[in-house]
């Protein structure tokens, strides 16, 4: 039984674009205004990782759900769909 998120993400097919479809609008906001950094908790694919001074965005594993855009308390995430045909490819459900 797959347990870790990393193991599960390996089961998913991604056709990654070379350019990120997710962008932190102002890295200063994450560093100075947002102590909780909720996105690093609720993102179902752990796309957002706080690296001590900067938010790392691993867009390659994004499920394109939209939670970060809606859940960011500072509306600080520019969120677009990946280029046509790119991004996550669900094969089953």
């Amino acid at each position: 039984m797959a347990k870790t998120l990393e193991e599960k993400q390996y089961l998913v097919r991604f056709n990654c674009d070379t350019k990120s479809h997710l962008e932190v609008k102002d890295h200063d906001v994450c560093a100075t205004k947002c102590p909780d950094k909720d996105c690093t908790i609720f993102c179902p694919a752990d796309v957002y990782k706080w690296e001590g001074d900067r938010m790392f965005v691993g867009y390659e594993g994004c499920h394109e759900c939209g939670s970060c855009r809606i859940g960011c308390p500072f509306d600080n995430i520019k969120w677009e769909y990946p280029k046509g045909g790119h991004g996550i490819v669900f094969r089953l459900a």
Partner: protein, 431 residues
């Protein structure tokens, strides 16, 4: 592409494809645009597809559609840490034509359904993102895509772009959704031999079970978990409002792992192997979150219009019905040769007069109330469990004393009046 279409439908999910199918079948020139590699590649659903609304588009679809199992039993589990109270209905009338609902795997189903629309004459273009509607003189006249020279024109653009609905937002039809208006859900498809499914869920081949799980499965947050049987796999998932997830600082993937290892669930999953992990939002704002549905040359259908009845886990059926209604309105407008907001408005009135408008209205305050008063999932579910345990554990205590103890456990800290108020509040929002 310089040619002009009668209708451009954005998004080949259940809503968009239903609209494209109906419009094409009635002779309109339809373009169906999908951003995924194929229809279904971006789409996720727990897995219940209702027969009624699908049948109204393709009669007897179950004879050829890629379905998993017809659901013959719906179970409801109210779970505590090491116990659960359950209720269910099993009926063999659901095991035969015309069936009630089916489990499906969407990547297969959506592809099949979109091909049906193509058979009716719709043109399907995959791997194409619509970046915005083209607006001229305050009227939507087409779409701009991420392809080179990707401007395409049509009399009507139908937005079936799913829960995020960036296109309707850009048109000002709704503001950004609030975390209370969407549910974040994660799920896994797990491989399990057909025989094990039949044994563990007490069904025969071609009979399925759906299980909705409340309480501990979401740590008391507003939401549910689910377990659905496919042919030789199961779908297991859990979701809560995004606001609930944030408030309780829960990691969705961990919530799912805890569910899978819960002592009430674990035996069902013995030996099952994860095939795919999926995350998606469900629009659960209900009636009060329905956006503006119609404008000059444009309509909004399905998830993009927040058409989900979370209490009855209906969504894809509303998507299909809304897509069909939109297409029928466009056909009428075509006869008049005008596609103004006024001419397209019968889609909105039809929708509000149908089961969709009525059901969403019935539960319009439910989600909000249960979110404001977490007592139901957080406290009453464990209390129910303890009450059953108290009543059925034979320990020499007289039943009257047991009943008194149970009553006291319910009224402790809130009084009889408090319980009455809680009951009344819940009844009022679902009645």
């Amino acid at each position: 592409m310089s040619e002009k279409f009668d209708v451009i439908v954005v998004g080949a999910g259940p809503a968009g494809t239903s609209c494209a199918y109906t419009a094409a079948k009635n002779g309109l020139k339809v373009l169906l645009i999908e951003r995924g590699e194929f229809p279904g590649a971006k789409n996720v659903m727990g897995g219940i597809l209702y027969r009624k609304q699908m049948e109204e588009i393709i009669p007897e679809f179950w004879k050829e559609a890629p379905l998993e199992r017809p659901v013959v039993e719906q179970r409801f589990w109210f779970m505590d840490k090491e116990s659960m109270v359950t209720t269910s209905y099993k009926g063999l009338e659901w095991a035969q034509e015309p069936y009630n609902n089916f489990t499906v795997l969407r990547a297969k189903f959506d592809k099949w359904f979109a091909d049906k629309a193509v058979e009716q004459g719709a043109l399907l273009i995959n791997e194409t993102v619509v970046t915005e509607c083209i607006v001229e003189d305050e009227k939507v006249v087409g779409v701009r895509t991420d392809r080179p020279d990707g401007e395409i024109y049509a009399d009507v653009v139908v937005l079936a772009d799913g829960v995020n609905s960036l296109l309707a937002k850009k048109l000002g039809f709704h503001k950004e959704w609030k975390p209370e208006e969407v549910a974040l859900t994660v799920m896994e498809v797990m491989k399990m031999p057909k025989g094990s499914i039949n044994e563990r869920f007490n069904v025969e081949d071609n009979q399925g079970v759906s299980v909705e799980i409340f309480g501990e499965s979401t740590k008391g947050a507003l939401g549910t978990a689910f377990l659905y049987t496919n042919k030789d796999s199961i779908n297991i998932g859990v979701g809560t409002t995004l606001s609930g997830m944030i408030k309780k600082k829960m990691k969705p993937h961990q919530l799912l792992e805890e569910l899978k290892s819960h002592p009430m669930i674990k035996p069902y999953l013995e030996g099952a192997e994860t095939l795919e992990y999926l995350a998606h939002l469900i629009p659960e704002g209900g009636y009060n979150s329905i956006p503006k549905l119609v404008g000059d040359g444009v309509m909004v259908i399905g998830d993009a219009a927040q058409l989900v009845n979370a209490i009855h886990r209906e969504g894809s059926n509303m998507a299909m019905a809304s897509g069909k209604m939109a297409a029928e309105t466009i056909l009428k407008a075509k006869e008049l040769g005008e596609f103004t907001e006024r001419n397209l408005d019968s889609y909105r009135t039809d929708l509000y007069d149908s089961f969709i408008g009525k059901d969403l209205k019935k539960y319009k305050d439910a989600a909000h109330t249960f979110e404001e008063h977490p007592v139901y999932f957080e406290q009453y579910v464990p209390l129910m469990n303890r009450a059953m345990s108290t009543m059925f554990t034979v320990d020499g205590t007289a039943k009257w004393d047991k009943q008194k103890k149970i009553m006291n456990s319910f009224t402790a800290g809130r009084g009889k009046l408090g319980v009455a108020k809680d009951l009344y509040r819940a009844w009022r929002v679902v009645k």
